[in-house]
Each structure stands twice: as C-alpha cells, then as structure tokens.
C-alpha cells in the first residue's frame, strides 16, 4: 500500500489505464483549485506515474464590430445591395453619395477583389457573380455569424458545427477588428503503465498540511506534520497595479528630462489670441496655417485682450516692413482685429513665446507641455487634439551648435541611442532643423522641429540675444513605445490595454 498526498491520490483514483482525462473536467468535478491539481499532476508525471498531454487550440471571440457585421452584413455586401438597387452600376464620383459615406475605398477594394463588381470606364458595375452573391453568404460571413451566435468558440468546435474555418479565415484576411484570436492550451492526463501498476498494488491518501495555521504554530504541532510541497512553476493570480496613462507617463518622462536640464515650466491659455499663437511668431496673417481650414476659431468668446500697445505695434510693424529688425517683413497691411481673434492654440510655442515676452532677459531655459489643436479629421493617425512639448533657451551664448547639443542630450534622456539633424523649414525659426532620434528596432524616427528664432520674432518682444526653440508631439512617442497602431486608442482607452502596458518600456 503506497501513501500519496491527498490530491495525487484523487487524481490516480480518477484515472483508468489508457484513457486521457481533461484537466479542466477534473478541476470542475473535484472542486479543487486548478493550480493544486496541476501541481499534483506534475508531481505524478515527474515520477512517471502519469503522462500530461498538452494541446494548443485556437479560440476566437467576436468583437463589437464583428457583432455589428453579423447584424448588418459586411460593408461591401451593403454596398453591393446599394449598387444593385441603383440599377447595377454607379459612376466612381457618385459612389460616396450612393453608399452614404465619404471614404468608399475599402468597399471598392473588396467589391473588386471578390469579383462582385468590375470597373468599366469610370463606373463600378455589378457582375453576375455579385448578383449571385447577394442571396448567398460567403465563408467570411458564415464564420462571423456563427461566431457571433457563440460569442467565443474553439476552432474545432466551429468545425464540428459545419463551419469551414479555414475558408472563413482566408476570406477575412486583410480585415481586422471583427474578432479576436487567442491560443489556449488544453491539458489532459493519462495513466502510465507504472501508474497503473502502483494503483493495482494499492494506494491510500496521506494527511498533509497545506496552510500553516496559528494553532499549529502556537501548539507546537507543526513539528509533527508534513507540509505539502508546492510547485513554483505553476501560475498564480494575475495582479495589476493602478497605473498612470501611458501617454501621461511619456509626458512625465519629458517633464523630468526638462527639469533635470535646468528648465523652468510654464503654461499658457488653451484658448488664446491669434496674436500669441501666430502674430508674435511672425506668421503672416494670410498664412494657410491660420485659415479656418486648419485652425479652430472660437465662436464664444470671440476676441481676447492684447498686451501693451507698444509691443503689439512693434509686432505689427515687423510683419508689414520688418520694423527695426532689418527684415523686409511680409509686405502687407497687418490687422489688429485678426490678432485679437481667439483660437484653440495650435502649438505650445504660444506658451514659450509668452514667457519670452514677459521676461526676455538671458539666461533662461523654459518649457511647456500641453494640449494643442489642429483642424484634422479623426482617423488612425490624426486627431484634432494632441499633446505638444516646447522648449526655448534664451542665452547670449546660444547658437546652432548648442541647439544640437541640447537636443541630443534631451532625446538621450528620452531613450534615444543617437540623434541627428537635417535642414528644414519652420516659419518662425532660421536656421531650422528637423530632429531624428535612433530608437532601437524602429531605427531613425522624426522627433521634433527646432531652430533659432528669427530676429523678426525675438526683437519686437524686446529680446536681442539668440533664442533656441524646439517643439514636437508626444503621442507618436507613446504609440511607438506601447505598440499602438491607432492614435484614437490613446483617448478612448481599452482598459485591458491600460492594465497591460508595462510601466517600464
């Protein structure tokens, strides 16, 4: 008679020779903790009494988007229906109106790929295959609809219900977001010959202590019991600490880099006058960036207050004919009313330029990080709002070489292996440079724009020493660091992503 730890005893008892039993089922029946059952199984397997079989299975889970498709059909199917409803052909330029949406590229791609429509002289024409497809569900649709009914399912379960999984997945290639795929490992155990022999010779459960209790300690009884041995390889519960948002973490890293380098932090109003956002930066009033097309103007309130007249006039004169700066200026009539208009700031240079105007005396190093706005349509890489960083150095001995040196140090603090510079153009700096950082496997990545403020910017604000300036977005750094491919995920967060995004990356 062999004495076995209680769970090992239960496992061996439950097994018959040559018949594998699923661990999941055993856990359910016994009511025992999965980790304890697996520990016992491994212990038995280590002694050659049982064998553990692992089978990796593909599991699919439907998403919100997938559910939508299962209800409404694939977008190209709906497009096909619309085209057939309109006589079976539609001119390309009429497609957006016919399909009721602006961007029809995806539909057109699938319609032609599936051979449901063909392109004939500028028109999209439904084919016979397309007409037949209307009443017939393709393997992709069958797959999505079946998965929608089940919520989540294993590949082999789907197959056993008559779904052609392989064809479904092949047809869905190139489309994302309809379902999620996960690999799950199913385990089963079976009795070996040795195990079978041991069982035949007779086994019985031994009493073991799992939890050391206060009673055992106080009574001294602990001396007489055997402690169950744990298997450290087994999984335990997954814990997640509360965390700051990944984008916020990049912002904080940036702040730290600036603060460590002796910079003073400043802020400026999110809603600001065009004066501080554009005019003070020598951006002419007919510059395309100032147009309604690119910049958000504020309807209520409409106008803000400008600083002291002397300052405003000197900025205006510089636009018109260069004022006292030695520049030709932009040669147009500058308007105070346009400068009073309120906008959502398009960059945080509005904050650093305000700081410069407030106190232009060198030496100063100033930075600002804040939300900025550009009139972009929302898509995978664009949002109308984003976070921008901006730094300036006001210093008698500042020059292009020290701009490069400062930026190289700054981006090394941000994790770059190397930094390089390329000539570029920005309206308010001259010379200007684009800054690239080498980031591990990503290679050279564009980080920010930089330069020496033009005299037309600094002199009207009462500053007669060189001012170095640079600014750039933070989102792209965060996306690269946390492996996001869609900028929208930053501002409408998936809580699972927030939990999983590791603090150190």
């Amino acid at each position: 008679m062999t004495r076995l730890p209680e769970i090992e005893y239960k496992l061996l008892s439950a097994l018959a020779p040559g018949v594998p039993v699923g661990v999941e089922g055993l856990v359910k029946e016994s009511g025992l903790d999965q980790s304890l059952v697996m520990a016992a199984a491994r212990s038995l397997s280590d002694r050659g009494l049982i064998e553990i079989h692992e089978q990796v299975r593909e599991e699919y889970a439907i998403t919100e988007q997938g559910l939508k498709v299962s209800r409404e059909g694939l977008p190209e199917k709906r497009a096909l229906q619309a085209i057939i409803d309109q006589g079976g052909e539609v001119a390309f330029q009429d497609l957006p109106a016919s399909l009721g949406r602006e961007d029809v590229r995806a539909e057109v791609k699938w319609l032609t790929k599936k051979g449901w429509c063909s392109r004939v002289a500028g028109r999209l024409v439904a084919t016979d295959k397309g007409r037949a497809a209307l009443s017939d569900a393709g393997p992709d649709e069958v797959f999505v609809c079946r998965l929608a009914q089940m919520g989540r399912a294993f590949s082999d379960d789907l197959a056993s219900l008559g779904t052609d999984v392989e064809a479904g997945l092949a047809a869905l290639k190139g489309r994302s977001g309809l379902f999620k795929r996960k690999q799950r490992t199913a385990r089963s155990i079976s009795l070996t010959d040795a195990g079978s022999r041991l069982k035949n010779e007779g086994i019985e459960p031994a009493q073991e202590v799992t939890q050391l209790t206060p009673e055992l300690i106080v009574s001294g009884e602990w001396r007489d019991v055997a402690f169950k041995e744990y298997d450290p390889r087994l999984e335990t519960a997954v814990l997640q600490p509360g965390k700051a948002h990944p984008l916020q973490r990049v912002i904080q890293q940036t702040r730290r880099a600036f603060l460590e380098m002796g910079f003073e932090e400043v802020e400026s109003p999110t809603v600001d006058t065009a004066f501080w956002v554009f005019d003070a930066l020598f951006q002419p009033q007919d510059h395309p960036a100032r147009e309604m097309q690119d910049t958000f103007y504020v309807a209520d309130p409409e106008r803000g207050l400008l600083p002291a007249d002397e300052l405003v006039q000197s900025v205006g004169r510089t636009h018109e004919d260069g004022g006292d700066t030695g520049s030709t200026g932009w040669r147009y009539k500058w308007s105070r009313a346009k400068a009073e208009k309120l906008v959502l700031r398009t960059h945080t240079t509005a904050a650093t330029i305000r700081a410069l105007a407030q106190d232009p005396k060198p030496p100063r190093k100033v930075f600002s990080i804040g939300r900025t706005f550009r009139r972009e349509n929302v898509d995978q890489t664009h949002l109308p709002e984003f976070i921008q960083i901006d730094g300036i150095i006001i210093d008698q001995r500042a020059d292009l070489a020290s701009l490069f040196g400062t930026l190289a140090e700054f981006y090394r603090k941000m994790g770059a292996e190397d930094v390089r510079f390329r000539p570029s153009f920005f309206p308010y700096t001259e010379p200007s440079a684009e800054v690239f950082a080498k980031l591990g496997s990503l290679g050279w990545v564009e980080m920010c724009g930089s330069g020496v403020f033009r005299p037309e910017v600094t002199e009207p604000l009462g500053c007669d020493v060189p001012v170095l300036a640079w600014g750039g977005g933070v989102e792209r750094i965060a996306m690269m660091r946390f492996g996001l491919d869609d900028i929208r995920k930053l501002y409408l967060s998936d809580i699972d992503w927030l939990k999983e995004a590791a603090l150190c990356r």
Binding site: G242, A299, G322, K365, R397, G405, E430, P431, S493
Partner: protein, 598 residues
C-alpha cells in the same frame, strides 16, 4: 504637404552626373528636402483632353481623367521618381530643373550665381483700365526652343500647380498661365470682361462636351475649375481676361485657360503670364518658372508690360539682389569658426554670388530665391552648405535652475494617490459635444466655450466636466472584466469675461467606478482619502444634481470651499450612455490646493 515625384533620369541628366540612389537621397536630405523614397510611376494620357496623369505603380486610382473628368486614360509609359515632401519655402526646388541647379552647387559641379541670358522678345502686354479692382498686376515672359515631350509637359504643368500652392496661395495671390506661342498672335491685352460679353472654349471644355463654348459667367457655374475657383471672383461685376492682338482668348485668370492655346508635348515656344494682386508674389513665381525653363534648355525673352497710367516695366527681371553680410554675425548664430573666405565659398556652393570685401562678404541673392527676408536666412544657407552633420554639438555653458508648475506637481500627487488605490488613469478629449456634456447627463445647457468651425458634431465645445468622458470610457469597455476603476486628471473650461482670453481653465480630477457592487460609499471613501493626502479634510453635504440618484449625491467641501460633487449616477444617465452596470463618480477641483502649494 504635397509630395512631388521628380523623374530620376531627368534629374541626373540635368545634374550632369550619375549618383547612386543612396548618395542622391543623402545629398537631397542634406539640402533640406524631406525624401519619402523612390517609386515607379505609370504615366497615362487622357484619350480626350491629352492631360497626362502619373500614378504610383501599385496605387488604386480612378480610371477617369482628372483634367476633363470624362476621358479614359491610356498608359504611355513609366518612370522612376524620387518622391519629396514639398516645402513651400523653396519653390525654386520644386522641379527637377531647380533641384538639379541647387544640387550642382551643393555637390561642387558648378558653384556661384547661375547666369541666365535674357533677350528682348519685342512683345508687349497692354493692361487696360478697370483692372485695379479685379486683378491689378501682370508679368510675363517668352520662352523658345523647348523640347518638352510627355515628361517635359508634365513637369511644366506640375511646376505651375506647385507654385500655385507654394507662392500663389491657391491662385489668390498669383496664378500662372502657359500658352503655346504658335497658337496666338503676339501683342497681348489684359482687360476686364463682362460676364456675358463673349464665349470661348475653356480648357478641356465640359465633361460631356469637350468643345463647349461658354461665357465667363457660365464657366464659373459649369466648368469644374470654374466652380472650384469661383470664390476668387465673388462679388465682381467684371472678370480679368487675357487675349492676343486678334482678340483670341488666352485665359480668364485666375480661373482657366482657353482650350485653343494649350500646350502639347510638341510645343517648343511658350508665352507665360502671372497675374495677381501681390506684385511680389507674381514676380517671384515668374522668376522661379523661367529659371527652371531656362535650365531645361529654353531661351527666355523679355516682355514689356504697359499699364493704363503710362507706366511700364519689362519682365522677367533676373537681376540678383545684393547685400552685405557680417561674418561675425554668422559665427555668432552658428557657433562655427568660419572666416569671410570660407563663408563666401559656402555661399557659392549654395548658388549665391559671394566675394569678400575687407572683413565683409558681399552677397548676390539669385532672383528665384523668394525666401530671403533677412540676413539670418542667408546664414542658414551657410550652415546647410557647411553640412548640419558636420556641426559639433555642445551645450549652452550657462547655469539655470529648474522650476516646476504647481498645477503639474499637485496633479502628479493626485495621480500617485489614485494609482495607489489601484485606479487606472484615462485621458479623454477636451473637445466634446453639448449632447454628451449636457443632454446625456440630464443637465440644462450652461455657458461654455464653443467653436466657430468644428470638424464634427461630436466636437463642438470645450468640456466643462470630466465625468462624461469617464462614462464614455466605460461604454467603450462594457465587454471588459468588471469591476472597473478609472480616473482622469485634466482641465475643464468656462467662460469668464474678466479673463484675458475670456476663458477660465480649471484642473480637476474625476474618479469613476463601475461594477455590480459599486456605490456611494466607495467614492466617498476615495474622495476623503484624496482630501487627506492633499492635507485637508473633506466635508460631505447632501446635494441635488440631475445626473445622480436623488438622495445619493453629495457636495464636497474642503477648507471651507466648494470643491466638487459625488454620488451614484442616475439610471437614466446610464441608459443614455448605454451602460448596463451601476456607476459611482466624484469630480474634484484642485485649484485652491494649487494656489496653496504655490
């Protein structure tokens, strides 16, 4: 920024040197170009209007001609191009010819000021009275001896388009016309035309009728380009018209050319005009264009412009502008130890004329450079000539002391408290809608900052509360594991007529919990803890608020000031947000803590 594809073989031919792909890319980048990479384009010609279109090899495209919107495209060949992101600052580098000119200097093949030989064409443009109000200025040039072919024609069209974008402010400040000289009788007239005065065939006619004759008024209503640019002539009772001596229409600037005077691949001699309200912009545009055509082998002839007040001028004028540069200033800005001789050499490399005179450098700026406003612009070119990659980086030697903003320090403390309790921070949009902020929250609309030109109905105002953003986040995560606990620490905005910009910004933290068992006590406990960590006590008094369940809502006071609101969200709010689990929240204003910290 538009991307332009420069044909590689044409560029090398103009360059007079064979560079491999990598060397060419590096040279272009070191000159300040943003190179997107190499690609193969397929060229198509419209079987109806002759317009040439280029499409990337693997790109999906509409097989209709974009020019006349009616013809079918016939493939006529392909070419390797280097794709460059256009910068509006150097329109002279927007073409193969201009790029080659700059590269020849940069690579040391030919340095110094490029010379252009201009002859007198004997042609004249007479400006009639009445143009002052509608399109006051015109400049022009004749170019003979061009051998364009398909590629050359396409290059000229592209250059025109790029200049409209870079210098012309989309034709408002300057618009360019190029005509086949063989189709017109020299002696040109620039005059006002009445909307119904005459008819001509606009370029490519109409989509369904390629030879349609239209009046100026009909063009603005019916022709695709007319419709697209009609706003430039809005409110005018006469329109600008350019004709030849026989009265044949060349164009109706800035809208459209005549179909009868258009260029073909066989065209050798052209007349060019640039019109607009901005003398500077039209002169620059013409200079850039004729310089490029001269580099492509054309002989440039000058044209006399006669204004009705008796004044006249001869264009183009490619005389360089001369200025003096102080080498000490260049050394100061760049931090490079360069003497006058070296500076002059670098400037010649950048195609300036430059020689030393005593301690100064005398600089001749090419007439096609429209971007030189100040000595500083020339200094930048010295740095580019020197090579940014050759500049040794260093730090500013001056010591400064850092200082953090109290609002950010307090916010960081709040984030530490909240993450310590296991909450996850979210960041949501500042731009929101009245619907989300008020209607879904069961609240009356209160004064708020609104946008004049929103992009979508979802983003029309600046948020006044962080709570709706938390609820939307819960909605997006409704299939995720419960319970969920999140917070946001950001700004909200209110109208304030006393503020400089009419807006008051407040930093707040909002906390949201959702799940089958969350409730009032959970958020009350968190709010108390937050107040304690901010070194204050929170007092809670019953409050009425439409977003919360009656009797489960409290006002939060700290240090005797109204600090925020707390409670269980009203089921109707949950329903409106599409939420199926109870939610408890609090929102807490940090401003008096920030003031105390500062």
């Amino acid at each position: 920024m538009p991307l332009v594809g420069i044909p590689v073989s044409r560029l090398k031919q103009l360059l007079g040197k064979d560079l491999d792909r990598d060397d060419l890319q590096v040279a272009l980048e070191n000159l300040g170009n943003d190179v997107d990479g190499y690609a193969v384009v397929k060229r198509f010609r419209c079987d109806r209007c002759g317009e040439i279109t280029e499409v990337l090899e693997h790109e999906d495209f509409n097989d209709l001609c974009a020019g006349c919107a009616g013809g079918d495209l016939v493939e006529i060949g392909s070419a390797e191009v280097v794709r460059i992101d256009l910068l509006p600052v150097r329109p002279d580098m927007l073409s193969a010819a201009g790029l080659a000119r700059a590269l020849r200097g940069f690579l040391g093949i030919e340095t110094g000021l490029p010379e252009f030989k201009l002859s007198d064409s004997g042609f004249r443009v007479e400006v009639k009275s009445g143009m002052d109000e509608i399109r006051p200025y015109i400049v022009g040039a004749i170019v003979r001896g061009l051998r364009l072919g398909d590629e050359g024609l396409r290059m000229v069209m592209k250059m025109q388009e790029n200049l409209h974008w870079a210098l012309g402010r989309n034709r408002r400040r300057a618009s360019i016309g190029v005509y086949d000289l063989g189709t017109i009788e020299p002696g040109f007239v620039f005059r006002p035309v009445k909307p119904d005065e005459l008819k001509f065939v606009p370029l490519f006619g109409l989509p369904d009728s390629p030879r349609a004759e239209l009046t100026p008024k009909q063009i603005l209503k019916k022709h695709p380009k007319g419709i697209g640019y009609a706003h430039l002539l809005a409110g005018m009772s006469t329109y600008p018209l350019l004709t030849d001596s026989a009265g044949k229409v060349l164009s109706m600037p800035p809208i459209i050319n005549s179909d009868d005077t258009k260029m073909t691949p066989e065209t050798t001699d052209v007349f060019i005009d640039v019109t607009g309200p901005d003398r500077n912009a039209i002169t620059r545009s013409l200079n850039v264009l004729v310089a490029a055509l001269a580099d492509m082998g054309g002989n440039v002839g000058k044209v006399e412009i006669k204004y009705p007040d008796g004044t006249s001028e001869t264009t183009p004028d490619l005389t360089p502008a001369r200025c003096e540069l102080d080498p000490a200033e260049a050394r100061r800005v760049l931090g490079l130890d360069l003497d006058a001789g070296k500076i002059a050499e670098l400037l010649r490399k950048m195609r300036y004329g430059a020689k030393t005179e005593g301690s100064k450098v005398v600089v001749d700026i090419p007439a096609y450079r429209s971007d030189i406003l100040h000595e500083q612009d020339i200094i930048e070119d010295i740095a580019i000539g020197y090579g940014y990659h050759n500049i040794e980086p260093r730090l500013v030697p001056t010591m400064t002391v850092s200082r953090a903003l109290p609002v950010e320090e307090i916010s960081e403390a709040v984030r530490r408290v909240m993450t310590g309790f296991g909450l996850f921070e979210v960041m949501t949009s500042v731009l929101v809608s009245e619907k989300e902020q008020f209607e879904l929250m069961r609240l009356p609309v209160t004064p708020h900052v609104t946008l004049e030109n929103p992009v979508s109905v979802e983003q029309t105002m600046l948020r006044t509360s962080l709570i709706p953003g938390l609820l939307s986040t819960f909605r997006a995560n409704s299939t995720r594991e419960m319970p969920q606990q999140i917070f946001e620490c950001q700004d909200v905005f209110f109208l304030d007529s006393g503020a400089e910009t009419g807006v008051r910004t407040r930093r707040r933290v909002a906390v949201g919990l959702t799940g089958p068992k969350v409730g009032f006590a959970d958020v009350r406990a968190l709010a108390s803890a937050l107040a304690r960590e901010l070194n204050a006590e929170a007092a809670f008094t019953a409050a009425n608020h439409h977003s919360f369940i009656t009797g489960r809502c409290a006002r939060i006071d700290t240090r005797g000031e109204d600090t925020g609101i707390l409670g269980e969200m009203h089921p109707e709010v949950l329903e409106r947000f599409g939420l199926g689990q109870p939610v408890a929240v609090f929102e807490f204003e940090l401003d008096h803590f920030i003031k105390a910290y500062a």
